[in-house]
Structure formats: structure tokens, C-alpha cells
């Protein structure tokens, strides 16, 4: 990696030398002094920010201390102080975050995901009670949480393709779109058609109001009486969307996966552009007059998801019959919102995705994917059928992308072609890169963070800057979300320069990125072979 000292000017070098020459105690003293100064400075801008910096440095320095009998006690006392006096503050949260590192690693591996899931499940109950984060403002609301989880699912899916198998896919949005449109086709009035209620009279000569011609209902909830079209139960629909998208992934994959590296990236980019265009122009599908996608107007509304009246009745209303119209009960002092239900279902879907992804990673197929990423030629020589194995990676990635897309469409109750542009593909890829390619935990963190920034974070940050940063009476008037692409680009640039393996890297990937993979093609690409 490019180290600072190779860039250094002589002045910088001598400063470093002097710093090194100082006694350890002096260095610590200066560092702590600088941190306190920084905290004091920030205190004038935003109290909470100042406290946060102080907390961080306090915990950091306690950790740096040599092992002493009272060290643990000091840390515990500090956490307690926060929890008692400032239970709802960033400081308390940071204190808890640091406390996590006292847990022995063996336990932490299990405890951390469990705590994270529990915290997420109860998020709707305490979200409104949470403190304001400096710079980022209030905690994201539950609807944002749903979108974040949907994007995390997509990132985890893309991670199978890019992180495990090393196939650069710049058109992942195609899978998202396929899933969303599958949901729209099978849970809306899109294909209702029209006929005349009077028997034997064609629609052109009809004198009374037309009624839907096609009507197919399979367990959908919340239907308007007399509404035509195909209505499949939301749960079935999620599975259906996954399967159809996976099949679509295989269809796209068979011709494209014969290519390597850059060529593959370009072709996937093409597919990522083709699909939204088909959606946009699909109100007259290839000039046949068939209205497949309803063009730029999109398909809306979509059926909601729910457990139906029967199940709801049997369980005494515990399982809501329809998410959109649910929630009169007042549980745990919290008025349920339909968003909360969507949020919890999203968590379940994400857990399934993560589970499958982890299982695949440590399987025969997962090993084959990593082998292909490391050296395609050697992998083929060891008996791994390249085409088939890559296609499986593609199909698995597509499956989860499709489910995420379908769920998002159901949540929004709409699908528009404008949702599926190239920037979404890049955005999801950014999530994977930022978090750490190949490491599912990193990808989750990266995706959640970027999705949050996109939905709320940037706007909040802009508001904070506009009100807190000022020169005299002059306040800036920034529209930060307008600079979103630039900011994401900058984030990726910084990550690539200083931590190319991502925030939480996979051990293997980190090694590759620092030393490079030696995979010179030796192979006839025309001869990659689909045959077993």
C-alpha cells in the first residue's frame, strides 16, 4: 500500500523523526492534549460531538494502557457513568461499542450478531426515544430501515457474484428490476384487461361501464372487490420473484460468463442498461401493442403483504391479515405501524439471505467460487466446470436480488422504470467495496451505511452543516444530497487508497488486494466448455 512516508516531504519526515524520538509518555501526553483541544473546539460547534470525541479518546487510551488490575474496572466504571447519567447519548453507545471488545473473541463471534439482531428487531420501539447524533441528526426512521435492509440484501446477493466468485457485475440493477416487475405483474391489476358486462357485446360497442376480463386470485390480501388482474399471495410472490430472477440470471449468464474480467463487466453493464429501457418502453412491447410494463408510468398499486383473514382470526389477530390496514392494537406502549411489520419481515428475509450466503461460502461450491476467483485455469484443471460454477454464482446472486426487488416493490406498492438506472448498480457495488468484498459482515455494514446516507444521512448532514457551521452571521446553504454521487465517489476513492480491502475485510481478499492475484489467462476463452 502507498504509505504516507513515501509521499512525505522533508519537513514531514523530520517531524515524524522527532515524534518517534520523544519518550512514550511525552507522546501520549501530546496526543491526549491534542484530542482534548479538538474536543473543546468541537464542543463550540456541537456539544454532543465534543463529548463523543472525548469518550472515544478516553476508551482508546484506557485500552492502550498496559494490563493493570484496575483497568477493566476503570472501563466498566466509565460505561456505568454513561449509562447512569447519559443513557441516551452517543457517548453511551460508544461506551457499549467499546465494551463489546472485552468479550472474549470466541463468544463475540456469536454474541455480536445476536445482539445486533435483537437491537434491530426492537428498533421501532425505541427509535423515537433515541438521542440526536451529532452531524447525522436523528436516527433513521423505520421506513428508511426497510429500504436499508432491502439494499443490504441486494449487496449480500451481489457479494456472492463479485466477492466470492470474482465476477465483476456492473448490471446488478437488472436483477433488482426483474424482481420488482415480477412482483408488479403478479400482484396488481396490470393484466386485468376489459370486457363488457353485457353478454355477447364487444368492448367497442359496450354501453355500460367495462369490467375486468381476467381475474386470477391466489391468496392475495386486501383486494378491492371486482378488481381484475393476477393476484398472487405476497409470500409466494417473493419466492416466485427469486426463482424467476435466478432463471433470468442463468439466461443472461450463459452467454456472458464465457468472458473474463473487463469484458464481462462491460457486457453486464449492457444488460443493466437494456432492462430498464425495456421496462420504460414496454407499454407497447416491441410494437406488438401489448402493454407489458405500463411504460414510464410504472405499475401501481401493488397488493400488500399479509397473513389473510383466516390465519389472522385463528391467531386472535397476532398475525395481521393485511400489513397496510393493520395495527389497531397498542403493544408495549407502542402504536404499531404497518412500516414496523414491513421492517420485521425485511429482517427475516435478510437473516435468510445471510444464512444461505454463509452456508454457501463454506461449501464445495463456495470453495470452487474462490478457486475460480484466484486462478481460473488451475480451477478448471482441478475439475471445476467453469461455466456451470459461475452460472450458479450468478443465479444465487440474482435470486436474492430478485427477492429484495420484489419486496421493495411491495413495500412501495409501486414499480417505476426510473428506479432502475445504472447508478443503482454502481451504488450496490460501492456498498460491497466499502464494506469489504467477500466478507458478509463488512458488506452488511457498508450497505446499511450507504443506504442510510442516501435516504436520510446526507440531507441531515446538510442541515447540520447549514445551521452549525458559520462565519459570523453568514451560513452556508448547501444542498448536500445533490452532491451524493460525488460524495460516494470520494468515499470509494478514500477506501481504495487507504484500505482497499474495505472496512471489515475478508482475510483472503485483503491478501489478494495487497499482493495481487496471479491469474494470467492461459485458456482458450472460446473453449471454456459448458459440457460436463
Amino acid at each position: 500500500m502507498l504509505a504516507w512516508n513515501t509521499l512525505g516531504r522533508p519537513g514531514w519526515q523530520s517531524l515524524r523523526g522527532r515524534w518517534r524520538g520523544l519518550r512514550a509518555e511525552a507522546r501520549w501526553g501530546i496526543a491526549i492534549g491534542l484530542e482534548v483541544a479538538l474536543a473543546a473546539l468541537l464542543f463550540f460547534v456541537d456539544h454532543a460531538l465534543g463529548y463523543a470525541v472525548l469518550t472515544l479518546s478516553a476508551f482508546y487510551w484506557i485500552r492502550r494502557l498496559p494490563p493493570m488490575p484496575w483497568k477493566l474496572a476503570a472501563q466498566a466504571a466509565l460505561v456505568l457513568v454513561f449509562l447512569v447519567f447519559q443513557p441516551r447519548s452517543l457517548g453511551a453507545l460508544l461506551a457499549i461499542a467499546f465494551a463489546v471488545f472485552w468479550i472474549p473473541e470466541r463468544l463475540r463471534v456469536w454474541a455480536l450478531p445476536v445482539v445486533a439482531v435483537v437491537a434491530a428487531v426492537f428498533y421501532p420501539f425505541y427509535q423515537t426515544e433515541m438521542f440526536t447524533i451529532p452531524v447525522f441528526g436523528v436516527w433513521p426512521d423505520v421506513a428508511t430501515g426497510v429500504v436499508m435492509i432491502v439494499f443490504v440484501m441486494m449487496a449480500v446477493g451481489l457479494n456472492i457474484v463479485v466477492g466470492y466468485a470474482g465476477l465483476l457485475d456492473l448490471g446488478y440493477v437488472a436483477f433488482y428490476a426483474t424482481g420488482a416487475y415480477t412482483a408488479a405483474f403478479f400482484a396488481s391489476q396490470q393484466f386485468a384487461g376489459q370486457r363488457c358486462p353485457t353478454p355477447g357485446v364487444s368492448i367497442e360497442n359496450c354501453t355500460v361501464a367495462a369490467v375486468p376480463k381476467h381475474n386470477f386470485d391466489l391468496g392475495a390480501v386486501g383486494l378491492v372487490p371486482g378488481a381484475g388482474g393476477i393476484h398472487v399471495s405476497g409470500w409466494l410472490l417473493l419466492l416466485l420473484a427469486g426463482v424467476i430472477t435466478a432463471l433470468f440470471g442463468i439466461v443472461i449468464g450463459l452467454p456472458t460468463l464465457r468472458l473474463r474480467g473487463d469484458y464481462l463487466a462491460i457486457v453486464t453493464l449492457g444488460f443493466g442498461e437494456i432492462l430498464p429501457q425495456i421496462a420504460r418502453n414496454g407499454d407497447n412491447f416491441f410494437g406488438t401493442g401489448v402493454n407489458l410494463t405500463n411504460g414510464p408510468n410504472g405499475i401501481t398499486p401493488l397488493d400488500s403483504i399479509g397473513f389473510g383473514n383466516k390465519l389472522s382470526g385463528w391467531t386472535g389477530g397476532v398475525l395481521p391479515s393485511n400489513f397496510l390496514t393493520c395495527c389497531k392494537a397498542n403493544h408495549l406502549g407502542h402504536q404499531f405501524q404497518s412500516t414496523d411489520l414491513f421492517f420485521w419481515v425485511a429482517i427475516v428475509l435478510l437473516l435468510i439471505t445471510v444464512f444461505c450466503s454463509l452456508r454457501l461460502q463454506y461449501s464445495r461450491l463456495g470453495r470452487a467460487w474462490i478457486a475460480i476467483r484466484e486462478d481460473e485455469t488451475a480451477a478448471a484443471a482441478m475439475g471445476i466446470p467453469l461455466m456451470r460454477t459461475k452460472t450458479w454464482a450468478y443465479a444465487s446472486g440474482a435470486f436474492f436480488g430478485g427477492i429484495a426487488g420484489a419486496y421493495y416493490a411491495i413495500f412501495k406498492s409501486a414499480t417505476f422504470p426510473g428506479d432502475f438506472f445504472f447508478n443503482i448498480s454502481v451504488f450496490i457495488l460501492c456498498m460491497v467495496i466499502l464494506g469489504g468484498m467477500g466478507n458478509i459482515w463488512g458488506v452488511i455494514v457498508g450497505a446499511a451505511f450507504l443506504a442510510y446516507l442516501d435516504r436520510e444521512g446526507l440531507a441531515n448532514t446538510g442541515a447540520w452543516i447549514n445551521s452549525n457551521v458559520h462565519v459570523g452571521h453568514w451560513h452556508p446553504n448547501l444542498e448536500v444530497p445533490l452532491y451524493a454521487s460525488g460524495i460516494y465517489g470520494l468515499i470509494i476513492l478514500v477506501v481504495m487508497l487507504f484500505r482497499p480491502e474495505g472496512l471489515i475485510p475478508s482475510r483472503r481478499r485483503a491478501a489478494e488486494l495487497h499482493e495481487g492475484v496471479h491469474d494470467e489467462p492461459l485458456y482458450d476463452s472460446t473453449h471454456a466448455g459448458t459440457e460436463a
Binding site: R359, I370, A381, E531
Partner: protein, 270 residues
């Protein structure tokens, strides 16, 4: 030699052209079962190209390759591996960032049956298969003397051990025929001698494996080969026991030039 039951591999008039260059020119070649055959020749003679055709990396321009009586000409590499040819590479091509045991387990890919779906559910079958594969991988590492380094990343192993790991990975594919491409390149004389012993004694005599290797180190070639074939400019110029080949004029000419042959004749050596 004719196509008898004892011939594991029969290549007939195999030819490879790269544009105008004829890398392998109508070479016919048989590998009898249970023997160690060496393929030698000066640099650029077409040895590795020939190997790459046997393993499906290149498709021959003409000719046919029969393995165990089945035509495998132009089949993709994984299909050929599944039918029983395992190989190592001239310039080591391990999966650098995978551990030694993972490398070996990748080699077992064709011999395992777990698929996407039962891997997710992790059925008892998958659990058993995975455990068996792990145990077998450890056995194979034991065989080449790397058991203690099972969890070391391949790239952290010293050069000689990387060569051994490549052999273990190739053995994991359960081959009938093992192709070794310059297996002792970069080894010191002691390591080469050990390796010669390993091929001759362990692989051939104990495991009853058939080995075809490209080798430059004549001590290794002469020490272990049952038969030596010599390629020069893409053509097979000689074949026979190590002793016969050593005396063959065309071979000496190919390696040392015409002058050397005349020199030797004058001194009555040939």
C-alpha cells in the same frame, strides 16, 4: 506400440498450430499403465503445449486423444480431469490465498456431490461428505509431508512445499494418469532426489499410478523413467529406455548441436 488394453492414453497424430507456428507436429504417443514416462526436449520443443492438449487447455488442431479407450479430444479441462487426468503446472498455480487443505479439497471437486441446495440445508449427506473430504485431504497432505502445514496459506509455504502441495492437489482429483510439468524445477539436488524417490517408489510402486512428466533434470529423468520420449521443434525425435535415448544421435544433436555429435564420434564415444 499398438492400442492394447494396457495403454492408458493414446494420442494419435496430435497437432497444434498457433497461427503459422506449428508447436506440435503430428505427434503420436502412448502411455502404458503403471509406468513413469518422461517427456524431454529443449526449451520451446512443444512439451507444455502437448500437455495442455492432453488436459484440454488447448484444443488440438488435428489428431485424436484417447483416454481409457474414450475419445477426449477437445473436451474441456474439467471433463478431462473428471475422466482421470490430474496435473501440476510448470509455474506453480496454487490458489495462493487458500490454505493447503482448502487447495487439496478444491481438487476433490469432481469426486464430491454436494450441490447448492443441499449445501444450504447442510443435509447429513453433505456433512458426511465434507468430513470425509477433510479427512482425506489431511491424508493426502500427510502423504506429501505437509500435514503440519494444513492450515497455512499456500503462498506462505516455501517453494519446494508448494510443489508438493500441487502434487497433493492433483492426487486429490483421483487421477489414473498424473501429469507433472517440470516438478523439480527450482529444487535443490537433495529435494530432487527425494522427489525422484517419491515418484518412483510411492506413486508408481505403491499407488500403482501412471505418471507422465516433463523434466529437465537428467538425474531425475534417468533415475525414475521407464521410458523417455524426446520432442524437438514439435516433433518426436526419439523414444525408448533412458539408456537408449541417452545414446541417440538425434537427441544429442537436439540438445548440443551437430558439432557435438561429430565431436563424440571422433572420440569414439557414440
Amino acid at each position: 506400440m499398438s492400442d492394447t488394453n494396457d495403454d492408458l492414453l493414446v494420442a494419435e497424430d496430435v497437432r497444434k498450430e498457433f497461427g503459422g507456428l506449428i508447436a506440435v507436429n503430428d505427434v503420436s504417443f502412448t502411455v502404458p499403465r503403471g509406468r513413469v514416462i518422461s517427456l524431454i526436449g529443449p526449451n520451446g520443443a512443444g512439451k507444455t503445449t502437448f500437455f495442455n492438449m492432453l488436459t484440454g487447455v488447448y484444443k488440438p488442431t488435428a489428431g485424436s486423444i484417447m483416454l481409457l479407450g474414450e475419445d477426449v479430444t477437445g473436451k474441456p479441462p474439467h471433463a478431462i480431469t473428471a475422466r482421470g487426468i490430474g496435473r501440476t503446472f510448470q509455474n506453480i498455480r496454487l490458489f495462493q490465498n487458500m490454505s493447503a487443505i482448502e487447495n487439496v479439497m478444491v481438487g476433490m471437486h469432481t469426486r464430491m456431490k454436494a450441490n447448492l441446495f443441499n449445501s444450504i440445508i447442510r443435509t447429513p449427506f453433505v456433512k458426511r461428505e465434507e468430513a470425509a473430504a477433510r479427512a482425506r485431504a489431511l491424508d493426502l497432505l500427510q502423504e506429501v509431508g505437509l500435514r503440519r502445514k494444513a492450515h497455512e496459506a499456500a503462498k506462505n509455504l516455501p517453494y519446494g512445499e508448494q510443489r508438493k502441495l500441487e502434487v497433493a492437489r492433483a492426487l486429490a482429483t483421483e487421477p489414473q494418469l498424473l501429469l507433472l510439468d517440470e516438478p523439480t524445477a527450482g529444487m535443490n539436488p537433495q529435494e530432487s532426489a527425494e522427489f525422484t524417490q517419491f515418484v518412483g517408489h510411492h506413486l508408481r510402486d505403491e499407488r500403482k499410478l501412471t505418471v507422465l512428466m516433463i523434466e529437465h533434470d537428467m538425474r531425475v529423468v534417468m533415475g525414475v523413467s521407464d521410458r523417455v520420449s524426446v520432442l524437438d521443434y514439435g516433433e518426436k525425435i526419439a523414444e525408448g529406455s533412458p539408456r537408449e535415448v541417452q545414446k541417440n544421435e538425434r537427441v544429442i544433436e537436439a540438445y548440443l548441436g551437430k558439432a557435438a555429435v561429430e565431436d563424440m564420434k571422433r572420440q569414439g564415444l557414440s
